[in-house]
Every structure is written in C-alpha cells, then in structure tokens.
Symmetry: C2
Subunit: 364 residues, 2 copies
C-alpha cells in the first residue's frame, strides 16, 4: 500500500467515517479480547541519543493466532520536524501470514498511528469522562493532537477546544490543521485550559525528566485526562499527586509501568487496563464524577486493528500493488532456483563465471 493508495482510500471512505470505524473496531477488539487468541507483546526497541534528546526505534508485534502477525516498527524522534522536515513519529505496519512467514502487506503507520491513538482516547473517554463533556483541552498541538481532537469530536459534542503548546508556532497553526472539524478552537493559557476543560489530552514531546506538562491545579473535579505522550522511561506528562488522586487506567500495564504515567505509581495504585474498562464499563461509571486518567502508551493491538480497518477498505476498493518480494523458487529446497538465471547457468557451465561475463550474458 503506497502513500497514493492511502490517499485514495481516505478520499473514498472519508476521514470521519474512517475514524468512526477505527473507534468501533477497536471497541469490538477490546470487548472480544481473548488472550488465548491474541498475543500482544510489549514493545521493545533501541534508544537513540541525538544531541541530548532521546528518541527510540521500536517494534510492536501482535499475533492473531493461526491468522496473522502484525508488526509496527515505529520511530519516535522529537528532532525530526526541525532537523529533517519529518513527523516526530514515523511508522510502517507489516502483516505476516503466521502459518507460512510470508509478508502479506506493508502499509504506512504514520497516519495509522495518529488514527488509532485518537481512537483509543475516544474509547477510554467514553467510559471515564462525563458524557456531557463540552470543553476539550489540548496540551501539545502537534500531529497527535489533531487526531485526539478528531476522535473525541466524534463521540462528544464539543462546544469549545482550548489549546496550549510551549511552541507558539505549533499552537498558532493548530486551528488551521483542524479547520475541517468546524470547531471553536481557542489559544489559552495553561491555567485557563486546566480550569475550563472537561477532558484534557496531553500529547507532548516533553523531554525525559522535564515533565509534568500541566500543573494539576484548579482542574475540574470530574476531569478526564488522556495522557498520550509518555513513551519512554522517565518521560511523563502528569503530576504524581494528580495521578495519586485519580483512577489511572493504562492501555497495557506491562508497558505503562516502564514508559507510561504508571511509572510514577506503585502497582497497587494503578487502575484497570483499557480492556477491563471496555469489557465492564458499568463498573467504572461512578468515576465519571471524579478525576480519571487514560495512560496511553500505545498498544500493538490498536495497530493491528487500524491496519485491518485500512486493509478491509483497500481490498474492497482494489487498492495496493502486488509485489513479488521473497525469493521463492519452484523448488522449495533450492534457495538458488529462483535467482540463478538461465544465462548464469550457461556461463557457469562454460566456466565463464567472472562478473563481467555474467553481466554481458544477462544484458544480452
């Protein structure tokens, strides 16, 4: 699936419909989640040190037993925008047939990650936030904030969007980037944002050890926060005292205690995982009147869901290009069967094995 295929797909389906489907598909995947059928791995990766700022390159594998393995490989490099003109998060999602090892699909993970991260916040917020939430605050106005807002706008009737970023250029350009939503977007101080928001999403590139990114003062008692930015050991966005007073729900506990807000909490103070929320939402309804946190570190299951959503449409629309990638010969026992051309075998038989001769033989 190329960039161009993806563009055609979004053009045909519509970005609102696509977001609605990802929210729906993710909800269903969590509701029906069965650890016997789906094996989700904690992401692992390489830490990258660039001139003092930490980046990562990570792989996030998930298997639907007997069907497919989806692996997202994702780079988080906060210097990408300034140094390379590239998004902070670059990713590709690959799907393998787990019965044979065959690579079935490679598809963009940049758009997919933004979509599914937004969708995950929508799913959590539908359970933990007040259904009449009207004011959304966004701390950090980068690429992820666009889909946080988009996803939440699909499940809440938002009257006002308050935005704050330490990078004022990014803060200023945000309204234009979400113009397609026709919402009332206002740049405000962090203090105003904290005081007025029913739901807050933090999606920042705050450096390791430099958090929190909100004060935790003057918040509405029922505030729900989607903390999206934590993705590294030592990187957190919320004040510990606020976490201690709130129901903190990680997307994936083993990951959240390493690189999420849950790093700041002892295990016994951590609330249920997203899957538990979705499977028994009624248990957590009382928390809608109190402060809650969705600790979103990013779950391989989400990548599998969004990839399947995109591929379902791609198949329907006939998008994507078939590529013969693996060297598969007719004789499965012969690793050279496919790559040895007749010309080369001829050369070889004539003892003309120098590369120059082989090249001519192939060219002729």
């Amino acid at each position: 699936m190329t960039q161009a295929d993806l563009r055609r797909l979004v053009g045909a389906v519509g970005v609102d419909n696509l977001m609605d489907e990802v929210i729906h598909d993710l909800t269903e995947a969590l509701r029906g989640f069965d650890a016997e059928r789906i094996d989700v791995r904690k992401r692992e990766g390489f830490a990258l040190e660039h001139a003092g700022r930490t980046g990562v390159l990570e792989w996030m594998p998930v298997m639907r037993r007997g069907e497919t393995v989806t692996i997202k490989v994702v780079g988080y490099n906060p210097d990408n925008p300034a140094e390379h003109g590239l998004p902070t998060i670059i990713a590709t999602n690959s799907v393998y047939d787990c019965r044979t090892g065959h690579l079935q699909v490679v598809v963009d993970g940049v758009f997919a990650t933004a979509l599914r991260t937004g969708a995950a916040s929508a799913v959590a917020s539908q359970i933990l936030a007040r259904p009449d939430s009207r004011v959304l605050g966004l701390v950090g106005c980068g690429a992820q904030a666009v889909t946080q807002l988009h996803a939440l706008s699909r499940v809440f009737t938002l009257e006002r969007v308050l935005v704050f970023d330490t990078d004022k250029d990014v803060e200023r350009s945000f309204a234009q980037r979400v113009a397609f939503l026709h919402l009332d977007v206002r740049r405000v101080s962090l203090e105003e944002l904290e005081a007025q928001s029913d739901i807050i999403c933090t999606a920042t590139s705050v450096a390791v050890g430099a958090g929190p990114v909100i004060t935790g003062q003057g918040l509405k008692p029922h505030v729900h926060i989607n903390a999206v930015g934590s993705d590294l050991p030592g990187k957190t966005e919320l004040p510990r005292s606020f976490l201690e007073d709130s129901l903190v729900c990680p997307d994936f506990l083993p990951q959240a205690v390493v690189e999420g807000e849950c790093q700041q909490l002892p295990r016994e103070r951590i609330g249920p995982e997203l899957v538990s929320l979705v499977q028994a939402p009624e248990k957590y309804e009382d928390w809608r009147g109190r402060s809650t946190v969705f600790d979103s570190t990013g779950l391989a299951l989400e990548d599998q869901v969004v990839t399947q959503t995109l591929l379902r449409h791609a198949r329907r629309l006939g998008l994507g290009t078939r590529v013969d990638l693996e060297s598969l010969s007719n004789d499965v026992m012969d690793p050279y069967g496919h790559v040895m051309t007749d010309a080369e075998i001829l050369c070889d038989e004539q003892d003309l094995t120098s590369p120059a001769v082989s090249q001519r033989a192939v060219a002729s």
Copy 2:
C-alpha cells in the same frame, strides 16, 4: 527490492562472487565488532503450533548506532514445503534509518538467510576445521544444505560430498540442486557419513525432542560440525556426549543457550562465541586436531551484513524501486495533510461528507 531485482543482481554479480563477498564481509564485521557501535538483539518471536509440529515467527533486530536498524522477520515452518509449496524458512529484511524511523528498504530474506547461514559456517570452519579437510558430510539435504555446501566449497578444496536425509526424495534431488558446483556428491548411510567426513553440517527440520540426528559414533577425531538446524527450545541435532567432548562455539551465546545445541551444556562447558574466534583465531588453532562444533542459531548481525552486501550491489546496478510508503505530509504537524484530497476538503466544506458523495467527488 523485488524478486526480479534480486535475480538481476545475482545474474550480474554471480552467485560465487556473492558468496565470497558475504563470507568476506561477515568476517570483517566480526573482526571489527564493537558492542558500542553495534547493538545485536536476541531474537524473539511467536511460537506456532500446527498439528503437532512447532513453527515460529521471529524478529531479529540489530542497530548500527547512528546509522540503520535492520530487522529480519523470519518464519520457520517445517510444514511449508508439503502444505504450501513454500520454503521452510521465509524471511524479509527491512532497513530503517535509525535517526528518523524511515523505512529505507525491504528486501527478500529467503535467499539472504541461506547465503549468510552458509557464510557463517564457512567463517567458523576456516578457524575450527582442518585446512586440508576434503570430505564434507551433509545431514539434511534441504535448502540450507545447498548454501552450506556452496559456502564451504569456497573455502575448502572438497573432494567428496556425502549426503544423508531421512526424506529420500530430498536426498535424491540434492545432487541436481548443487550441480552448478561440479562436485562429487554421494548418497551414503549415516554411518558412512559420520566415519568419512572431515566436516559435517547438520541442517534438519528434526522435531522438538526428536534429536539427535547423528549417532556421534565413529567420527573422525578432528571432525568439525556446523550444527545449523537448532532454532527452537528443545530442538537439537547433536548428541550431548559428543558436545561434552568437543569445543562448542555458539554464534550468539544468549540465543544458543535458549535454542541452540548449547541448551544441552552447562554454561561453563560452552566455548567462545564466533566473534571471539574471528578476533583471535590463533588461540583456537590447536582445536583443529580435535572435535569442534559451531552452534549456529542465526545471528542478526549476519542478516545486517548480507543485507548491506546485497544493497551495495543494488545501488551500484541501479536496482530496486522507490516507493512512497509513509504518509508524510508537507506539514509535519498534520497527519491528515497528505491523505485529505482537495475533493474531500471541498465535500467537507459543503457538508457532503457521506462516503458515496466523497467517492464520486474523487472519481470526477
């Protein structure tokens, strides 16, 4: 890099030259190996249960710090040949720019794995086997045996190749598959093979718990064995008593103790890793007169080396196709910048957001 690109590459370079280069490049990579610069990870994966036979789908990441991350994703499925007409080992190798997360290359890993696994045995055998080794025994005559023989034929003057496989069809077809080497290939009993070989390669799909695949009786006192098949907990090819009497050198200790022949040995009975052999071969020269084992589980570094060897030629020859895969918009802060078409934005502005209308707008 497609199948067709790879075929052109091999045609241009010649398979002998390519094998020589991989042996050379791997030797150099090991000789200059510096753990500060190269981060090799133990492979992880999903176990697959098919009707009683165990398979795996695994990822093998390695980083050249500040340059690239190479990840091979490899399936080992012993039922592939009979059930799907596919090789037991299917793999693809992907290269990422570790500074940005950008996916640079996807290339076949089937041919590459066979090449580099052969090359690794050649590197180890040059140090541990007698330089005048003349008789090579192959236990298991599948795809990996082809490149074991090819690689060893590049560094030893082989007079005779003795082959044995429990699958007699595979054993019979082997001579044809290696006809390009013009060697004297003979089907023999396991007993003859063990008695006459100076070097043995075991490359079998023996089931977990069903090993060993040789008796260990009547071997030449100086025999060197490349044990290539172990790749699963519980899967081993050599008798424990033989291992106990030999110098056993793993390619990568943390992996070999989990899924290699080294599973059968206490840690203190395990010899040096391949990298130590290559960095100080003179230390192990005395072992050429005694029995030695290269415990080859497959090292991510080998995949990185062979991938770079292939890509060097691909670049030189102008092979491969550039694909715009990641959804990168001009505005790095806008995940929708690239996928939202003008038509869709128009639709949206007119509040014509149903998919049917969007589709027509895009089609027009």
